[in-house]
Amino acid sequence: MAHYWQEISALTMRWVRRLSREKFSMLFTLVQPMLFWLIFFGNLFQRAADTQVMQAPNYISFLAAGVVVMTVLNNGLAGGVDLLFDKENGFLERLMSTPIHRTSVILSRFIFVMGITSMQVLVILGVAYLFGVQPATGILGVAMIVLIGMMFGIGLTAISMAMAFSVKSHGDFFSVLGFLSLPMIFLSSALVPLTAMPGWMSFLAQFNPMTWAIDAVRPLILSGWTEALPHVGMVVLVMLVFDALCLYGGAKAFRRAMG
């Protein structure tokens, strides 16, 4: 157990070090493009969006939940990229030829991605706060939001790693990534509530785990615990199933790639 911990902390430190060596990348990671969605998109649609439809005082407070979950989506889907490069340049083989527990590398990646994602979620909620969005459920609600984000992120990161282990080239990886992320966002309640969508889109959006995550995060920001709790309970169930499926697929891909 002490060995396992030694491995995981050394491997996690490596990801942290890498990020800190790339000053620019670190800046852009924290001040994410997602933030622009909140600041520009949120303010841009302030007048165009109907507050009756949104069921929110203004568009930016409606959008905050969507942007939080979009951040989780992007980080999660990109979570396997570094392992993909490790696989391609042989670093992964070097790591796997050492007497480490087979799951250490993957676990270190989960810890790192979840850590970065939580920080970003807090940055986004902080910026939203500057635009007057105060989470109705307070600090505890914020903690709950981070937790929901992590639950969604684990499954996404697992998908991303499974892809990293399965694809032939990193070109394939980025094509699939680009193909996945936008439909996931549009076919969810991130930008518009389901009730305001065309029928076929809202139908599809119901099967998007992202919708469930947003529908739980949104009342935590806008309404309060009584409204939020049923959604939170529901999203925990949905995410448990989602994570189980993704982790199963990820484990399979990992085992196939590692012989």
Partner: protein
């Protein structure tokens, strides 16, 4: 000869879909020797190596390292080996020292023990002055040295080198050879793959020539050359269109063991040049071939390779190894 066996490979096969990368391979590596796996790209060298370092499971057959099975006792094997991959498996953002510290933790060394070994290794590969710079500032030769230091960090019983000098300049190459010889002198067992004949000839105590997933021949470079039985006479002809008629003319003549056409002439393996030369010259004369240049060699490892695989190592083969 009774020597300790460090590695025992028995009837090893590895199949990808329908492609047999390694086909019923059996060989042994003795403790303390430098053993080479020589072959063109796609011959099955890397697949064999990656099985030995526990990264691939054989489709059938088995391999042991220091008596431990590479599948069943994989964890034990991993504590006994060091591995230097073929690609520059370097994280550009980490410094040389950080690479070694990371591996130190993965081999479960204490901080003090790791620091002691790292200092020694950095001196050995002459990287002390650059140890705290990110690896992206390193030259190709420096990266290779760091690779080797990483492979040596666990203080392994067996060191695996995958194409150790691929793409290096001559000086770095000679330096790496020096390290390998020094490690052998310390009693380490070394297994390396290479597609450089001179490297195999210079470094390896014994080598296996692998082609199409099978061992074509195995022995010390000297043995292999002697086993060819005969020296090589190389002809360069003025009229290259007559190469093939001269080839068929010389085949099956008593003093001549084998004939092989090259782009400019013929490589003729002979029992003894004294007996064969008159035959060769007389035949060439009769067919009206003007000989531009004639050369006589003791067999080289190139000739061994050609004799066993039917082609030169530089000639490409249709299938490339994918794993």
């Amino acid at each position: 000869m009774d020597r300790t066996i460090a590695i025992d490979v028995s009837h090893l096969s590895k199949t990808y879909d329908s492609y047999r990368a390694v086909d019923d391979l059996s060989f042994q590596v003795y403790a303390g020797e430098i053993f080479g796996l020589l072959g063109p790209n796609g011959a099955g060298k890397s697949t064999t190596l990656r099985t030995l370092i526990t990264l691939l499971h054989p489709t059938s057959g088995a391999a042991t390292v220091m008596g431990y099975d590479t599948v069943r006792d994989a964890d034990k094997v991993r504590t006994l080996i060091g591995y230097v991959p073929q690609e520059r498996a370097i994280d550009r953002f980490l410094t040389g020292r950080e690479h070694l510290q990371l591996l130190g933790a993965l081999y479960h060394l204490t901080k003090e023990e790791a620091a002691k070994r790292i200092a020694k290794l950095l001196t050995l590969v002459e990287l002390e002055a650059h140890a705290d710079r990110p690896a992206k500032t390193y030259s190709g030769g420096m990266k290779r040295k760091l690779d080797i230091a990483c492979g040596l960090l666990p203080d392994p019983k067996v060191l695996f080198l995958d194409e150790p000098t691929l793409g290096l300049d001559v000086q770095s190459r000679l330096r790496i050879w020096e390290y390998v010889r020094m490690l052998k002198a310390r009693g380490m067992t070394i297994v390396m793959t290479t597609n450089y004949l001179d490297e195999a000839d210079q470094l390896c105590d014994r080598l296996a020539i692998i082609d199409g997933g099978k061992i074509k021949t195995l022995g010390s470079p000297v043995e292999l050359k002697i086993a060819l039985g005969g020296d090589i006479v190389s002809l360069t002809l003025k009229e290259t269109d007559r190469i093939h008629s001269l080839e068929s003319e010389l085949k099956d003549r008593p003093a001549i063991k084998a004939v092989r056409a090259t782009t400019k002439g013929l490589d003729i393996r002979v029992e003894s040049p004294e007996k064969a030369l008159p035959t060769i010259l007389e035949s060439a004369n009769r067919l009206g071939c003007n000989i531009e240049f004639i050369q006589y060699n003791r067999p080289r490892l190139d000739d061994v390779f050609i004799a066993h695989t039917g082609r030169a190592i530089t000639e490409s083969i249709p299938e490339s190894e994918t794993a």
